[in-house]
């Protein structure tokens, strides 16, 4: 009798745990995070350039849709994503861009923003998702579903629990970009 009850419990638990369970747990973990502040180093390898561009700075996130990338090196500037609008500051100039006006840019920004907010549904609207590894050490592969985004090959996001460690973007034309995140300057 006692065993039977345990068995039923076991079955019940199994029934509510579909194959995507690690991904769901990751998403829940990410969604719990309301605020984040990390340093970043970005390395862009573009075919038009003779050598990669390297820049670094701070990345600040506030749930659910405020993301700020503050570049400090080599020249200060900032890029703020707020409610689907991009504000770019360079020197004393400020540009407001609607993501909608730049459909080529949208998937990159959406991939990062939706991962940060743990919005699996939003991610799955744009990408085919593949989760690999464990919650302690995971890799998320995003491939665009929309033909209009065919210039983008795939996005690889790696992390440990709710810590995102790297984001790598591969373009169909061979260009690629890699962002590595580290702890915020205060805790370093």
């Amino acid at each position: 009798m006692w065993l039977l009850c345990l068995g039923a419990l076991w079955h019940g638990a199994a029934a509510t745990a579909p194959p995507g369970t690690s991904l769901d747990r990751l998403m829940r973990l990410l969604a719990q995070r309301r605020h984040g502040e990390v340093t970043f180093v970005e390395r862009d390898t573009l075919a038009v350039l003779t050598r990669p561009l390297v820049s670094s700075g701070l990345m600040i996130y506030d749930a659910p849709d405020h993301l700020e990338k503050r570049t400090l090196e080599p020249r200060p500037g900032s890029l703020i994503l707020d409610h689907g609008e991009l504000t770019v500051k360079r020197g004393d100039r400020t540009y407001h861009l609607s993501l909608n006006d730049y459909p080529q840019v949208a998937p990159y920004v959406d991939a990062i923003a939706d991962t940060l907010s743990g919005d699996r549904a939003a991610l799955e609207r744009l990408f085919e998702l593949k989760f690999a590894g464990s919650l302690a050490q995971w890799t998320l592969t995003l491939r665009p579903l929309d033909k209009r985004h065919s210039h983008l090959l795939l996005i690889l996001i790696q992390g440990a629990r709710d810590d995102i460690r790297t984001v790598r973007i591969f373009q169909t034309n061979g260009d690629h970009s890699r962002m590595t995140f580290g702890p915020p300057p205060a805790t370093r």
Binding site: D44, V48, L49, L53, T71, L79, R90, D92, T94, S177
Partner: protein, 792 residues
């Protein structure tokens, strides 16, 4: 049988002539009734902006209901349909296709259009910095897009151009189209080809939008809600409102007075004859306005409803007081005893209305002329024509009982004197305590647009982040090129103010069509191909970029360097064409460039533009004439002129009435006795309106003048000893009832100018009669005095 009176013939001919004029007159119900007749230079600019400016052509379209996806699809379908409609210059909904042609134009001519094209920029150092900046931008997700432009635009002119044109945050986007901040409305912005003041064309544009929307609904098999706002929407709604209002008011007040008279007279012939002076007055009024102004405003016809109330009084006096006698006797009595009083009352009205004639507010001037001509005609017809039209055994119901009852009430009226004194004190106290808030100083007070529509407009504007243009920098110059050069000079100062966050941006025709001088200057900044190639090679030192990658850049610069200068024709097909047409205007020998300013959107500067700083900055650098123009301030100033003028004219009219009474009554004491109750009525009505939370507009002021003009009729009857006091009183009661009915109906109009007038005059004339009765001298004995022979 009476002799065929010449007066009747003259009347017949004149009435036929007037009818002809009335039929052929031009009628208008647009907003021009509210714009000044003889504007000053700055008012002309205001009027022009209101009628034809860029803002006047904007229609904001909101789609609500259904779900977000359907709304977005409706938005796209609607845009496509309207885009094909030649009535619209542009229709934007945030979908990227909208701006494709504009972007192609900007890209093709970036070296002639970009403000950063200077000789310095194409030196080795300048190129190095500019390309370095562009590479910075590449180091971001945006860069992955920007890199496709890099080979042809390494100095980032396109980014500069787009940045200059998108200083304000664009509306929120969802499902690829603009939506309201909460996302429950899809938003579009349409610009009509026709000017905002072209009400017919605006009406067609609105119909086109509605038709297209229904077609989109059918196409997508769905139902949603469509809301429109903008100056054109307002103009069309206002016209519809005025026309409907005037028609309804005329019908209702006409019907009410018809019923009143039918009850009183109990005789259809009497009723028909009673309407003769009214109809004559209306014909005279409309034809006078048509002859003098060329066009009859809809609101004038609305004001004209009031004439019915006044003109019908005359025949009431005639019918009621000449009752029960033989024809000859009645005629004589009318001429001897009643007509002089009616005449004096009519003259006071004429004097009152005449004082409105010089008004610069067309609606008011027309009201003055209409009423003056109408009252005069009605009076003369009552005196000379109507008695001759009365049938031999003309009789109306005996009103003596009504008069007797009124007389009994009248005898008790003086008991109300202490109450009246209290009311007067309370009125003065109310006005005194509210003395800071008596007046409505905004032009919007006259606006025939209902408050909910005004609120919807404000909300949608905020949603679309398309605030009302309030400040304009105006550059005047003798020719087009000088105006553009002036705009460029002003633009440089404005750019400095943007850096100091005084404003967030400005628009200028020179942004899309630089002056020839500046275009040549920019071409001069572009080095020849070999020189550029040489400098570029040097400039790329230390940058991760190969000169061979930038071949397209060299080609494009060379093309632009030797290309013919841009003209207005090159803009054709882009949305910049209409912008330049709207922002660069010619009037006579004067060219004007208009630069609308945009207020800072950041919270710290949310209180609008510090216009004094803008003026100070611009007064320095002005080769052409530069003025900073505050549209809203100008509009309110215009209204203030109207208001001040209305007060001045009313006081003048009042003075004229008092002088007339002095000349005719020849006793200051009698004049005071006539005027005091009218003055009290005005006081109490003003206090009542204030107590109800109304702020006085110029129409209230005019209403007060009318209280005196109309009320003096009653006061005069009380002033003169009457042969038949009970009948006099009865006729006064009926006359007052008809006036109160006429203006009372007006009070319910949805056109504010008409409602303001009605709400003042209807209670005012009633109070004028009551107060006159309360303050009257010893009331006459019961019953009519025996008809004694008059020495006259």
């Amino acid at each position: 049988m009476r002799r065929p009176a010449a007066a009747v013939w003259v009347w017949g001919v004149l009435a036929a002539l007037a009818a002809l004029i009335v039929v052929r007159a031009r009628y208008s119900a647009d907003l021009s009734a509210f714009l000044p007749r003889a504007p000053t230079a700055s008012q002309r600019l205001l009027v022009e902006q209101l009628r034809r400016g860029v803002a006047s052509r904007m229609i904001i379209v909101a789609i609500g209901g259904s779900n977000a996806d359907i709304r977005a699809r409706l938005s796209r379908a609607l845009r496509d349909r309207l885009h094909a409609d030649p009535g619209f210059v542009s229709v934007e909904n945030g979908a990227s296709a909208t701006a494709r042609r504009d972007k192609a134009f900007l890209f093709a001519h970036r070296y002639l259009l970009s403000a950063s094209v200077t000789p310095q920029r194409f030196t080795v150092a300048g190129l190095h910095t500019a390309i370095g900046n562009t590479l910075d931008l590449l180091a971001s997700p945006v860069g992955l897009f920007a890199q496709s432009l890099l080979p042809s635009d390494p100095t980032g002119e396109m980014t500069t151009l787009l940045g200059d044109m998108s200083h304000n945050r664009p509306p929120r986007t969802e499902h690829g189209v603009w939506v309201s901040p909460k996302g429950h409305l899809a938003l579009l912005l349409a610009r009509t080809r026709a000017a905002g003041a072209d009400t017919d064309a605006q009406e067609q544009a609105l119909e086109a939008i509605h038709r297209a929307f229904r077609a989109c609904e059918a196409q997508l098999r769905t139902h949603a809600r469509l809301e429109l706002t903008g100056p054109g929407v307002f103009a069309v709604a206002a016209r519809r409102n005025i026309v409907r209002s005037v028609a309804r008011l005329s019908l209702v007040s006409g019907g009410l007075i018809f019923c009143l008279l039918l009850i009183v007279y109990r005789s259809l012939p009497a009723l028909a004859l009673g309407l003769v002076p009214v109809a004559s007055g209306a014909l005279a009024g409309v034809s006078a306005v048509a002859l003098h102004f060329g066009v009859v405003q809809g609101v004038t016809l609305g004001f004209g409803v009031t004439l019915i109330g006044e003109a019908v009084d005359y025949s009431i006096y005639l019918f009621v007081q000449s009752r029960g006698d033989g024809r000859q006797e009645a005629d004589a009595r009318w001429r001897r005893s009643v007509w002089p009083t009616v005449r004096l009352g009519m003259l006071t009205s004429v004097f009152g209305f005449a004082s409105l004639l010089p008004s610069s507010f067309p609606g008011l001037a027309q009201l003055g002329l209409y009423s003056l001509a109408g009252v005069l005609a009605a009076g003369l017809v009552t005196r000379f024509v109507l008695p001759r039209l009365l049938p031999a055994r003309f009789a109306i119901r005996d009103l003596t009982p009504l008069g007797r009852g009124a007389l009994r009430a009248l005898r008790r009226a003086p008991l109300g004197r202490s109450a009246l004194a209290l009311i007067a004190v309370a009125a003065v106290a109310t006005l005194y305590t509210h003395r800071e808030h008596l007046w409505n100083h905004r032009l919007a007070a006259l606006s025939p647009i209902p408050l909910p529509a005004q609120r919807l407009d404000a909300t949608l504007r905020a949603d679309l982040r398309a605030p009302d243009v309030r400040y304009l920098v105006v550059v005047s110059a003798p020719d087009r090129q000088a105006a553009l050069r002036g705009a460029e000079a002003a633009g440089q100062e404005l750019a400095g103010l943007i850096r100091h966050h005084v404003l967030s941006g400005y628009e200028s025709p020179a942004q899309y069509l630089p002056s020839r001088t500046l275009q040549r200057e920019r071409q001069g900044s572009l080095p020849p191909s070999d020189v550029l190639h040489h400098r570029l090679t040097k400039a790329l030192a230390g940058l991760p970029l190969d000169a061979s990658t930038l071949e397209p850049f060299l080609t494009d610069v060379e093309t632009e360097r030797t290309a013919p200068l841009l003209t207005r024709k090159d803009l054709e097909g882009t949305s910049f064409a209409s912008m330049v047409d709207a922002l660069l205007t010619q009037e006579g020998a004067q060219w004007r460039a208009l630069l609308p300013l945009e207020a800072p959107t950041s919270a710290a500067h949310a209180f609008g533009i510090d216009i004094a700083r803008v003026r100070a900055a611009l007064s320095v650098a002005a080769p052409a004439r530069v003025t900073v123009f505050d549209l809203k301030g100008e509009a309110d100033a215009l209204y203030l002129t109207y208001l001040r003028e209305a007060v001045r004219l009313s006081l003048g009219g009042l003075a004229a009435i008092v002088l007339l009474l002095l000349a005719s009554l020849r006793s200051p004491l009698r004049v005071a006795r006539v005027v005091l109750p009218l003055f009290l009525a005005v006081l109490v009505v003003a206090a009542g309106l204030i107590a109800l939370g109304v702020r006085l507009t110029l129409l209230h002021v005019i209403g007060m003048l009318l209280i005196v003009a109309v009320g003096s009729n009653y006061a005069l009857f009380f002033d003169r000893p009457s042969e038949r006091p009970s009948l006099t009183l009865a006729s006064l009661l009926i006359a007052n009832a008809s006036t109160v009915l006429g203006f009372g109906v007006l009070a319910f109009s949805s056109v504010p100018v008409l409602a303001d007038l009605g709400r003042t005059v209807a209670p005012g004339t009633l109070l004028a009669l009551v107060f006159t009765a309360i303050l009257a001298r010893e009331p006459p004995p019961d019953g009519d005095a025996p008809a004694k022979a008059d020495p006259a």
